[in-house]
């Protein structure tokens, strides 16, 4: 049974016509059950949003929203139909993003890398090296030369990584990341951090708004790529992400 996460529509499996009558009956029952549960979950979600809105108004003393919030995003002011308004970024953060955009690669040179630094290749060895360069461009001083000499940042949110179609394209910004922050990816098999990318903002891709990253990965997916990995090494199983806020010098 297929569930479209964007429309909440439930549909029979692709091989439905090949099933025997008894199995078809079971599938029909399953679909009916799922539709009931989805409708219940949506109603419950609306109730929670409404309760939250009331609680925030009471706690903060701010006036009630001019329209009834239909989602937590509405309530917290996260836009759903356009890029985030340009937030004032510190000069150091702006420099970091400028470096990330410059050295993440581009269509004529997808594997672009700053020759001032060693490049550990596109197999997956250069991601944290690149993130370190970005932070250095943003004014951070080196901690040391050892493999354990690194900064961690402050995790502001985590998210499990289900199958790619179920990921929220705006999860990083909803978690509170601002351009220049980092995303740590824990892999499917071991759940350990095995990839790092630099969050650089939002962009309309394929008609929808997505949060984007600069990174050193597969060359074609390095520059302003959507934040969601589409290889199974980072979805399902023990996979998850950490959204990490870094405080640049002077902030």
């Amino acid at each position: 049974v297929e569930v479209d996460q964007s429309t909440n529509q439930v549909s029979p499996p692709a091989n439905y016509d090949y099933l025997d009558d008894a199995t078809k009956a079971k599938v029909g029952q399953k679909i009916a059950d799922l539709r009931t549960r989805i409708a219940h979950a949506l109603t419950e979600g609306d109730r929670i949003d409404s309760d939250l809105a009331r609680a925030i108004v009471e706690a903060s003393g701010t006036p009630a929203p001019t329209k009834t919030p239909t989602s937590l995003g509405d309530l917290l002011g996260v836009p759903s139909n356009g890029p985030l308004p340009p937030a004032p970024l510190s000069e150091q953060r702006r420099r970091a993003i400028e470096y990330a955009d410059r050295w993440a690669g581009n269509s004529s040179d997808p594997h672009r890398a700053n020759s001032d630094y060693e490049n550990f290749g596109d197999g997956g060895g250069d991601c944290t090296n690149f993130a370190s360069q970005v932070m250095r461009a943003g004014g951070f001083k080196d901690v040391g030369d050892g493999i354990d000499d690194w900064r961690r940042g402050d995790a502001v949110g985590t998210s499990p990584m289900p199958a790619n179609g179920a990921l929220d394209p705006l999860a990083p910004s909803r978690a509170g990341l601002i351009p220049g922050d980092l995303i740590y990816y824990r892999d499917t098999a071991s759940g350990t951090i095995n990839h790092t990318a630099v969050y650089v903002g939002q962009q309309i891709q394929g008609g929808r708004l997505v949060d984007i990253v600069d990174q050193h990965a597969n060359g074609d997916n390095n520059f302003r790529n959507d934040w969601m990995p589409d290889n199974p090494g980072f979805t399902g199983g023990s996979a998850s992400v950490e959204f990490v806020h870094v405080t640049y010098p002077g902030e």
């Binding site: 692709a14 997808p110 060895g125 891709q205 984007i212 597969n218 074609d220 997916n221 199974p232």
Partner: protein, 173 residues
Amino acid sequence: MRMPVIKHTRTTVAIALALILIGLGASALWYLYATEDVDPYPMKEYTAEMQDKAAKGIVAGLNTHNPDNVELTRNHSGDPDREADNARITENIAAVLPPPSCQYVLVNVDDQGEQDPATVPWFSGPTQARGFDMKLQQLCPGQQPTPRTIRVIAIPSGMGGYWAEAALEERRS
């Protein structure tokens, strides 16, 4: 009587020093050159389990007859060639979709080892590729099952040394 002994000792020390210097030099040369080709971040194994999982996902996607549902890696970057790359990937998938009203059933997966990375021309310069064959039965209403083989080509995902399935290729026997 003493002079020859001193001379002998000096010769021994000189030879020992020379051997130590040669040893140090050889060690330095080994460190500089012999370790140069060691990749500190090698690709991970592309195990039978990974290939089997990928094959099941790809076959499920193919059976929807919609290339967008097939789990191959896409270009999601902000580069202007994104749309052109993705159009070629869609074209690659469409070429191996089951005929309308037909379905694939996965029979088994057969590792095919290293492949020519040039078979994935829409990705820029992968230096290595791996592949496996999906042995399928094509089921169409009112017809005998037909065997089909589709090869899956995987390239480095660039994330943690994992492989990413990137192209499909019909194999005719």
